[in-house]
């Protein structure tokens, strides 16, 4: 087909193909900056950090306005992972949303389960047997170890220590996830708690395995601290960065390790004494500078306290039933009324607010997400600091987007 080649060549001649001139949209805006006397004084740069940014821990965006390297404005933008968890839960039964609470903060499914179960128990007036209370405390404190270990790994990753601290953290986390798997059947989406107790009893030999993991944990924490706590680069990057005052933290409803790093003594395990926490002997570590280094340090100290609580729980756990015999699985309809239950989750106060109208579905189901509310002060912490410190500040807040956006 020699004669047709001419035509092909002719069709592809540059005069016939019209390529529209497309200039790519810039992902930044330049704003004029006026000085105090009203004259032009350089330029401000508006940058969108995220939603696809490795250090935003998911799909989360910060609209940052920069003056050179300094942050002059920062607005967080949410909603990329929004699926209206609350509406879905209002359209299903009380028990039906228990597996779905795992997906809120997917690193800490056990504490999410507990917070929801606690609220429903308040609403329906159920009592939890003693053994179930101990199992809940064991799983919750193991979850706290998982969360804080991961957080330290992620924070160092954000700081540029690529890989190594995170892999140390994940090595230990995997041991605890193995425990969760043998207990509930799933590593992360445990769906383990039930209203008035727990789903299944501990398998044979589980306590010995758990004791082994927890015994080795102190050694791992020593190793972790030897690598990190006095590391010159970590100290230089975090001390005096992102300072948050105690007054602002209280006014902005900050909870969890971030609040205690500012020196406010408020731990719901001590204040509400939910479950059987008043039987345990543990301290509440407090920081006094409120900077990123304190937030890092508080988490390490809290892990040591968790190890203490776990050892006491392993010593004292009794035999017995694991679920309240009054708790109904089928036809569960709490009396009309409302209840707000809260626990000290690894990230802060995790609460569930439920209104019942006597039907099998909750009339109102609300999650109080600690990650979202702790982001209220992100702008205050970052103002006047370098753009490179924004990611460290965000990392030290400890967010999980499954919970922020719900």
């Amino acid at each position: 087909m020699i004669d047709s080649t001419d035509q092909i060549v002719a069709n592809h001649s540059p005069s016939l193909i019209q390529i529209p001139e497309v200039t790519p949209e810039p992902n930044y805006t330049v704003l004029p900056k006026t000085g105090s006397d009203g004259t032009m004084d350089g330029e401000l740069l508006e940058v969108a950090m995220g939603p696809h940014h490795p250090s935003t821990h998911g799909v989360f965006r910060m609209d940052v306005v920069l003056d050179g390297e300094k942050v002059v404005k920062l607005k967080p933008v949410f909603g990329y992972l929004h699926r209206n968890h609350e509406k879905i839960a209002e359209n299903t039964t009380y028990l039906g949303s228990m597996p779905y609470t795992d997906r809120l903060d997917y690193l800490c499914s056990m504490t999410n389960n507990w917070a929801y179960a606690l609220s429903v128990e308040k609403l329906a007036g159920l009592q939890t047997p003693e053994r179930a209370e101990y199992i809940r405390i064991i799983t919750a404190e193991l979850t706290r170890l998982v969360n804080h270990t991961c957080l330290v790994g992620f924070l160092l990753q954000d700081m540029g220590a690529l890989g190594t601290p995170l892999m140390y953290a994940f090595r230990e986390r995997e041991l605890i996830l193995d425990l969760f798997e043998s207990l509930s059947g799933s590593r992360m989406m445990c769906n383990y708690m039930r209203f008035g107790g727990c789903r299944v009893d501990l398998p044979a030999g589980w306590l010995e395995q758990a004791r082994q993991v927890v015994d080795n944990y102190s050694g791992f924490l020593d190793e972790f601290e030897k690598l990190l706590t006095e590391n010159e680069i970590l100290v230089a990057r975090t001390q005096g960065v992102g300072v948050l005052s105690a007054e602002l933290a209280i006014a902005a409803s900050i909870t969890g390790p971030m609040l205690r790093a500012c020196g406010v003594n408020y731990d719901i395990r001590k204040v509400d004494k939910y479950g059987i926490y008043e039987r345990f002997d543990f301290r509440v570590p407090l920081g006094d500078h409120g900077d990123v280094y304190d937030r890092y340090m508080i988490r390490l100290l809290e892990m040591r306290e968790s190890v203490k609580i776990l050892n006491q729980a392993f010593r004292d756990i009794p035999a017995g039933p694991i679920v309240d015999p009054k708790a109904k699985i089928r036809g569960f309809r709490p009396k009309a009324g409302e209840a707000y239950g809260r626990i000290e989750g690894p990230k802060g106060e995790l609460g569930f607010y439920l209104i019942s109208d006597g039907s099998p579905n909750p009339y109102r189901y609300r999650v109080r997400p600690p990650s979202l509310i702790n982001l209220t002060v992100l702008e205050d912490m970052c103002l006047g600091e370098d753009v490179a410190d924004v990611v460290i500040n965000l990392g030290s807040v400890d967010i999980v987007l499954g919970e922020v956006d719900r």
Binding site: A124, I250, Y266, K335, Y340
Partner: protein
């Protein structure tokens, strides 16, 4: 901690003209709440925060609730003359209740470590009179949560510093957490390449949509 009755009494003396009502709670949790009128919302909030006995400095949870128009049925026993004899007869009284949107605030004290004190604010109706006073100037922790109520329930908070949608995108028109929200049909007619299936789909369609 003071009981809710004591809080109500001290509020009535220190905030003149305030209208308060204790909302009972039948559930075993026993968490009763205090309904505050909208005109004095901010004054009540400031008092609760600054009063040395209460010092509710920590606003933990803010949430919206949607209550639709309902007919409340109440059975009342009344004495009536039936055929000359006085008898007790059950009567059913029906009262219409207009719907409203509600904002619920759970307050705790970090300084004195007590709580919760629950206050509620109610809008007049669900359509045009949906304004509430914002308590963000008193407790900054309410900022994102009030934005969420504005987004998902459509309550407008007067005095909020930055009232924008937070979870849904800008330009979205509806409020998805309302009880009468209708989910959109967001699937389109997509015929498969198989002839039989295509015929079936066409048969099921109304006449004017047939190609």
């Amino acid at each position: 901690m003071e009981t809710l009755e004591q809080i109500k009494a001290s509020l009535e003396t220190s905030v003149p003209g305030v209208k308060l009502e204790i909302i009972p709670n039948e559930s075993p949790s026993g968490q009763r709440s205090l309904l505050v009128d909208n005109a004095h919302g901010v004054a009540v909030a400031k008092f609760l925060r600054d009063d040395p006995q209460l010092r509710l400095d920590y606003c933990s949870n803010v949430t919206g609730v949607d209550w639709l128009d309902t007919v409340l049925k109440e059975k009342v026993k009344a004495k009536q003359l039936v055929e000359g004899v006085e008898k007790e007869v059950e009567q059913q009284i029906e009262t219409k209740r207009a719907g409203y949107l509600e904002a619920v605030y759970h307050l705790y004290s970090m300084a004195l470590k007590h709580g919760p004190v629950i206050i509620r604010l109610r809008t007049e109706n669900r359509s045009d009179k949906n304004h509430l006073p914002s308590l963000t100037p008193v407790w900054r922790g309410a900022e994102f949560q009030e934005r969420e109520i504005f987004d998902l329930y459509g309550v407008i908070f007067d005095g909020h510093p930055d009232l924008r949608r937070i979870l849904m995108w800008d330009g979205y028109v509806d409020h998805p957490m309302r009880k009468d929200y209708v989910e959109p049909d967001d699937y389109d007619y997509e015929p498969t390449p198989h002839d039989e299936v295509l015929e079936k789909v066409k048969q099921r369609q109304p006449a004017e949509a047939k190609p």
